[in-house]
């Protein structure tokens, strides 16, 4: 896991990835199209970010068919949820530290 100097996880540097993780953290699972709609991004953009999160082991992909249409469902893994919560804690602390320094 790559971590930058301020303790933030590199995998969450992009807002889109943060958005994906937030959406999956509060939902049992979401399909590709719902994610696309919520985040308001293009297919390719979303797919590449999802791929990156999948590679980290943060999201799990499940492919199935609804009738004849392929359907891809995404769920957050336990590892992903832990990493996301740690990221939130670091964000909070950074904000607090900045506030106190002033």
């Amino acid at each position: 896991m790559k971590v930058s100097i301020d303790g933030l996880n590199k995998a969450f540097e992009s807002r889109i990835r943060l958005g994906i993780m937030s959406a999956l953290a509060v939902n049992d699972s979401l399909d590709f199209n719902s994610l696309k709609e919520f985040l308001d991004v293009t297919d390719g953009n979303l797919a590449s970010h999802l791929k990156a999160l999948e590679k980290e082991g943060f999201v799990q992909v499940e492919k199935s068919f609804i009738g004849r249409k392929p359907n891809t469902n995404y769920t957050v893994t336990a590892l992903g949820l832990r990493a996301f919560q740690a990221h939130l804690a670091v964000l909070e602390q950074l904000i607090l530290k900045n506030k106190n320094a002033k």
Partner: protein, 204 residues
Amino acid sequence: MKQERDYIEDLAEIRSMMERTSKFLSLSGWAGILVGLYALAAAYVAKIMLGFNPDEVMYSLPVKGNSSNIFVIATGLLFVALCTALFFSYYTARKRGEKAWNATSRRMLINMGVPLVVGGFFILIMFLKGATGLMMPLSLIFYGLALFNAAKFTYGEVRIMGFVYMASGLLSVYFLEYSLLLWAFGFGVVHIIYGLYMHFKYER
């Protein structure tokens, strides 16, 4: 390295995304107000013009006019109320830049729909068996259960409204002679109060 402002924006984005993807927030206060007014009008027509005022479980429908009139009013009210709610939700969602038919609205509708459909069939069976006096208490109780269930996926205030309906429903089974009044209070007055509250809290 990122600036402090970026961290705050990150957190705001996370919060908004969590809320937007788990709750359907395109309910309109106007729909509540209008549906409440329809219900009051329907209760008035049923009581004053058709003489409908159940006071016992096996209540025989008034002979004034046709007994199917009550049925026409009930289904008509349901249809118009549904159309109003759908129209305003569609409109509100568009104003918020969201789609009305998305993962959250689907989830809310399924959770609301199951108790409503089961209740609907129950009420229909009671009607066919002649237990017309139970129609209004049952509609209050099942609507309350539906709201309680749907509240997990929308504004928290909906849960309180669910409790008010369930309480009115139970009261109206016990005091059957006041069931039309309690029905008018529930579907009329409570909807209007809820609509006004939501409108002033979230839409202005």
